[in-house]
Symmetry: C2
Subunit: 214 residues, 2 copies
Amino acid sequence: MSSPTEAAGLSGRRRQAALNDEAILNSAREVFLADPKSPISDVAKHAGVGISALYRRYPGKEALLRQLCHDGLRRYLAEAEAALADPDGWTAFTGFLTRVVDADVHSLTVHLAGTFTPTPEMGADAERAGRLAEDLVERARATGKLRGDIVLQDIALVLESCAAIRVPDRRRTTELRRRVLAMLIDSISRTGAPDLPGPPPEAGEFNWRWQRRP
Amino acid sequence: MSSPTEAAGLSGRRRQAALNDEAILNSAREVFLADPKSPISDVAKHAGVGISALYRRYPGKEALLRQLCHDGLRRYLAEAEAALADPDGWTAFTGFLTRVVDADVHSLTVHLAGTFTPTPEMGADAERAGRLAEDLVERARATGKLRGDIVLQDIALVLESCAAIRVPDRRRTTELRRRVLAMLIDSISRTGAPDLPGPPPEAGEFNWRWQRRP
DNA sequence: CTGGAACGGAATACTTTGTTCCGTTTCAAC
DNA sequence: GTTGAAACGGAACAAAGTATTCCGTTCCAG
């Protein structure tokens, strides 16, 4: 794992290499978020490096995708843990959603899933992520501000909805996503509203994405 | 243009051909909705016909995509016009959204756009669609049930959000989409709610999808 | 000076896929 | 019954795209 701005304190070519580490990962994130099926050469082009620089660091495309996805999953975990430290169960919940949407974590995880064979560790992390999210929902419910018929899996619906919003400009994308998120949170917190239609989403109903897509 | 169940009254091979007309279009819709980049052979396989049956009807892949997209656009127009016949501006608005979401018209139009060069007629239809949607929003606003800071382009946000929800089973997909739509409509109708964040979506902000994607 | 780490990018090998082509089946008209 | 054309299935073909390898070059640390 390379920490950000690891290039500090290095000189010459070592420094350049460390910079490339970041540039490649950042470019991969940007390119693969735009289209998970992008050719690996686009990543190199976007990072301003040759293909070799990529293959020196990752054994192949899969490994890069896997890393990217796992990083997203870790980000999700970090945000969830940070949110759980918030004494207010409601702001913990809404703040978590906002930060996850802003970071586009959903695209990094769910939309990249299926493009590689996941490691057992990722499975464990995903499970833990589910537990943390459950805690967040429970604590939000305890505040009494959460609509009665909202279940854990509704988080997936919310994140999926927000991640779908996309315009060419990244900053504007974030703004528009926040607009949608505001609407959804607004509705989610309507304790007196009429029941939502249909059976609520069930556990595992969105796991199909993690199946290997050929 | 072929009307549904055109096969009635025909016999023998003519009948089979008319049936294939439908099978091919239906399969194309299903396959390309699942993934707009699907190979054309998947469509044939799904329809249970050979490739020739496809090429007898359409000069190429583009033409099939174009037809599918244009059909979706026409469906949008039809639903909008039907909704405008409703004397109640609010149920006209919500009913329109529901039917468009149920029919997955958004995927049919926006998500297929960019995979072909559009005809001038499609441009004209798209423009008219925009005007009709504007009317629907205006009439909804006139009822006083529409949140003040909702603009026409918010419809795009709503449809995009709903279209993003997808699980393997189509019927279940519809249910879950209705759940999200219920949340969004719920919030959209909160006349007393705090303002939504950020500048509202602008006209033409989603037109980028119609640019040819290579 | 110099050996090797790091790299750029052409070349390769392979897969995918749109389209064509041809032999075959089927049916309606004579 | 004969037949000719509509309709079709699917192999064959051609073009494109792309993951990966390979080799010559650059640059620095020791």
